[in-house]
């Protein structure tokens, strides 16, 4: 195998990418199975509870505000209950250990990530430059960074329950990239020959990775908040509630909405700092390349909009009446704008940032 042949390297990169997608798909299934198992574990405990109606109130071990007697019951049967993470408040209504499917999911994700990394690096070598100079490559590197951020965060906090979301998102984006955005290796046009391509685009992708996780956490936070409200109002009867219809019973095994909100906030503020830097680096680059640092080009407009939405999110957290669900919605809107900026603005809007390569 001749590793100096760009065409060959590029085809190996493609093989690696398709393999990565296949393994991500398997990981996605494993994570989904884990969620299903959590749901049935919750079901089992509740069923047990129906039998021993009005058992003595649970010991406070796993109780948290907003959980009923029923869900706070320490379940002694399978699966083994333990703290979700040393770093995270142990405030799940029903702490749930790491099922085998969860472990499999994480292992597969790491494997797929390694393939994904190899694909990206080979593409870079094939093109003899950083692998993020057109839509296909942005998508490949961007999703790699989303996944990298996820795996690094896993070392610090147990967010494994987001595996379904993250592998699902990355899979969809990679699929679109490979099928819709694929372009052959091409050299950098003069407009992109700049150190700022390396810095600006990389940091933007990193910020996107953070926002993606923040988005997932905020979404789960909203669902969790709804569950907690049902529980508080006593409408979380084992059957009948909406969440039951949607088979979202696993929520009882996830951290409380307050904890999720804090996690989302911590991740989003890192994303926000990176995004602020992206915006500034972008205008420094624009000054060099186009002779003006800011010109309200469509891409610049959307970068600005995203920045303002997340500034709003941070303020919302400090505004009475906006903490909790409302601020979560802002994070969700913020990430939707990020995806819009990447997917729609690049392809369909006219502007100077015409580097999709399509």
């Amino acid at each position: 195998m001749n590793l100096t042949d760009p065409a060959l390297l590029n085809s190996y990169s493609l093989y690696a990418l398709y393999s990565a997608m296949a393994v991500y798909a398997l990981a996605f299934i494993a994570f989904a199975v884990d969620l299903a198992r959590r749901s049935s574990a919750v079901d089992a405990i509740e069923a047990a509870d129906l039998v021993e109606v009005d058992a003595a109130p649970a010991s406070g071990a796993a109780a948290s505000a907003g959980s009923t007697r029923t869900l706070a019951r320490p379940a002694l049967k399978q699966p083994v209950l333990r703290r979700i993470s040393a770093r995270m408040d142990n405030d799940a209504a029903l702490p749930y250990g790491r099922s085998s499917s969860l472990r499999v999911g994480v292992a597969l994700t790491v494997l797929a990530w390694a393939l994904h990394l190899a694909a990206t690096i080979m593409r870079g070598f094939a093109a003899n430059r950083v692998p993020w100079a057109n839509m296909y490559e942005f998508a490949m590197t961007g999703t790699l960074l989303i996944m990298t951020v996820f795996l690094i965060v896993l070392i610090r906090s147990d967010l494994r329950f987001l595996g379904t979301f993250v592998t699902g998102l990355v899979l969809v984006l990679l699929g679109v990239a490979a099928l819709q955005f694929y372009v052959e290796v091409a050299p950098l046009p003069p407009a992109l020959q700049s150190a700022w391509l390396v810095i600006h685009v990389f940091v933007a992708s990193l910020a996107t990775g953070m926002f993606a996780l923040g988005f997932a956490l905020s979404t789960v936070q909203l669902l969790q908040f709804r569950r907690e409200n049902h529980v508080l109002e006593g409408t979380a009867a084992p059957r009948g509630a909406v969440s039951s219809a949607l088979r979202l019973r696993f929520l009882a095994t996830l951290p409380s909405s307050a904890t999720l909100e804090n996690l989302a906030y911590r991740i989003n503020i890192i994303g926000f700092i990176l995004w602020t830097f992206t915006l500034m680096a972008g205008s420094i680059w624009a000054e060099q390349a186009w002779g003006r640092y800011w010109g309200w080009d469509t891409k610049e407009v959307w970068t600005f909009i995203i920045w303002v939405i997340y500034a709003g999110y941070i303020h919302a957290r400090a505004t009475r009446g906006w903490r909790g669900s409302r601020s979560a919605w802002l994070a969700i809107i913020g990430f939707s704008a990020v995806m819009f900026n990447f997917g729609i603005v690049n392809v369909f809007f006219k502007g100077l940032h015409a580097y999709s390569g399509l």
């Binding site: 003069p190 680059w285 060099q288």
Partner: protein
């Protein structure tokens, strides 16, 4: 009963509303929404041709949109109103916070709460034997101080404690961030007014003097004085291009554009320089950007008597990626009739099945110039300014090409042709006839570069404020602000019980770990100092002040 509000009362109320967090949030969200239309509708500043096209495509809608300033969103009254209100709100919010923060910086940490057990990270330890409460607290105080905490010590009969606070930098960063944003806005708002931007096309070998008249177009800022232009000269020595030839997938894609120039300050020595697409030349207080390039065929028109009536390198504007280029030649004087020509230049000429010419590669492989000749009134004498890049053909008679039945003039470099009606001769001058004769046309035609020349004295300010924004953001969001307490109480049996707890002020994910680490370090410190017979240090006076911070 509602107290009556006078004018000042109302103003006060309005000001409080405007500077409230809720209003700030509302205005931020409004700003995000208001920015959207500018990405959906073309904007005059960034895409003037798009606006013109929009008026053609949507003749009914466009005027309506125009009345609500939809083509000038970012300078519109409504957009400006939102961000100006936002920044007034910001200033009104930051000033009192700054005052408050200065007070907080001078205040002492508050008294130790009676019950620490309810606070974050609460943990207890047993002091090593022979350590008394006062000594334990002395060590805790030292430890906290060396970790960057501001401390206050409290001693009572059987109980000593130290109260500590750190992370004032968090609020400092936050205030700095907001203040620097105001700086950015002011710089952007006024900065443009002190500079100028101008455009100039230069053909290889041509020189430009930085004076008002030498610019093809010139946009001064509101406060810019033309007299301050520094009349240096800029000569385009050479313009080099390279196009991809190895990779067939990207064949002909530009790889590099390099303009070699010479800059000569007034009365100074000539200085060579380079301008590239991502690398402007910063010289004599101006920035010179390379924004475009193309071919400038040298065309000569000679009257029948042999007088040269026109000779110039004419910049042809590129029309596609392979640089099929369009250029205009106007010869108002010296011939029997006024003469206009619309030329197409093909750096590598090829023919479609239909017989039409096109360029198949952007570099000079097989150059061809075609000319359609018009005669009549060029309209140059009416005093109305006309573009050198356009020919109004209404008042002209077409002589070659199109429906005339006469073939367009086609010229290779170095070739000449008779003009129709015996008007004279037109030639396409070859810059390097020897090489062309050998089949190498690469130097046969001159190139032009279009430069943007800008002067913006406020860029330095802008980048400084941006750096402060980023720095403020880092510290304002990531520095933890926290209080920590250590309390030592003596049990009846003489042993000493130690309690530790913390309180987050703002988001502080590491608080509990920090309190535990503090407890462990403290205990270790006490153990290493154990043999020393403890003599209680007399508490310093300033530590005894029972100041309570108001917040």
């Amino acid at each position: 009963m509602q107290p009556k509000l006078g004018i000042t009362g109302w103003l006060r109320w309005f000001w409080r509303q405007l500077t409230s967090m809720r209003t700030a949030l509302f205005l931020l969200l409004m700003l995000a929404i208001a920015a959207i239309p500018g990405s959906l509708v073309p904007q005059r500043t960034s895409d003037p041709n798009g606006v013109t096209q929009y008026f053609i495509d949507h003749p009914d809608l466009a005027p309506v949109l125009d009345t609500v300033q939809a083509f000038d969103v970012y300078s519109s009254a409504w957009f400006s109103a939102i961000y100006l209100l936002l920044f007034i709100s910001l200033i009104g919010c930051v000033i009192p916070r700054t005052k408050h923060h200065f007070q907080a910086l001078r205040a002492k940490p508050p008294t130790t709460p009676a019950r620490l057990a309810r606070l974050s990270g609460f943990t207890t330890r047993d002091a090593p034997a022979h350590t008394d409460a006062a000594t334990a607290i002395t060590h805790a105080r030292t430890l906290l101080k060396s970790s960057g905490y501001r401390v206050a010590r409290f001693d009572a009969a059987s109980e000593s404690s130290v109260s500590a606070e750190r992370g004032y930098l968090r609020e400092t960063g936050n205030l700095l961030f907001h203040a620097a944003l105001v700086g950015v806005l002011i710089t952007v708002g006024f900065g443009g007014g002190y500079g100028f931007s101008g455009q100039r096309v230069l053909v290889e070998g041509q020189t430009f003097v930085n004076t008002l008249l030498a610019y093809d177009s010139f946009n001064p800022g509101r406060f810019f004085d033309d007299a301050t232009l520094d009349p240096y000269t800029l000569n385009l020595d050479d313009f080099a291009v390279s196009y991809e030839q190895q990779n067939l997938q990207a064949y002909g894609q530009p790889i590099d554009f390099t303009a070699d120039v010479t800059v000569t300050p007034k009365g100074g020595a000539a200085d060579p320089g380079v301008v590239k697409v991502n690398a402007p030349l910063r010289t004599n207080g101006t920035n010179i950007y390379l924004l475009g390039n193309g071919y400038a065929p040298t065309i000569t028109v000679t009257a029948p008597d042999g007088t040269v009536v026109f000779s110039d390198s004419v910049p042809f504007l590129p029309q596609d990626a392979n640089l099929t280029s369009l250029g205009i030649v106007k010869v108002p004087d010296g011939l029997a009739e006024q003469l206009g020509m619309i030329g197409f230049f093909y750096p590598t000429q090829d023919k479609m099945a239909s017989g039409a010419n096109f360029s198949s590669y952007p570099d000079l492989e097989y150059p061809l110039l075609t000319l359609n000749v018009y005669t009549g009134d060029l309209g140059l004498d009416d005093g109305v300014p006309t573009s050198v890049y356009a020919l109004t053909t209404d008042t002209l008679t077409q002589q070659t090409g199109g429906a005339t039945g006469v073939d367009s003039i086609e010229l290779k470099p170095g070739a000449s042709a008779e003009l129709p009606n015996g008007l004279g001769t037109v030639s396409f001058v070859d810059n390097d006839p020897a090489a062309s004769a050998a089949g190498d046309f690469s130097q046969s035609v001159s190139r032009f570069a279009s430069f943007d020349i800008h002067h913006d004295p406020t860029q330095v300010w802008l980048i400084s404020f941006s750096a402060l924004v980023l720095f403020g953001l880092f510290t304002g969001l990531l520095v933890p602000r926290r209080r920590v307490w250590v309390k030592a109480s003596t049990r009846p049996d003489g042993s000493v019980h130690l309690e530790y707890a913390g309180l987050a002020r703002g988001d502080d994910p590491a608080l509990e770990a920090a309190v535990t680490a503090m407890a462990d370090r403290h205990l270790k410190l006490l153990k290493t100092h154990q043999p020393v017979v403890a003599t209680p240090e007399s508490p310093r006076r300033d530590d005894l002040g029972l100041h309570r911070e108001s917040d």
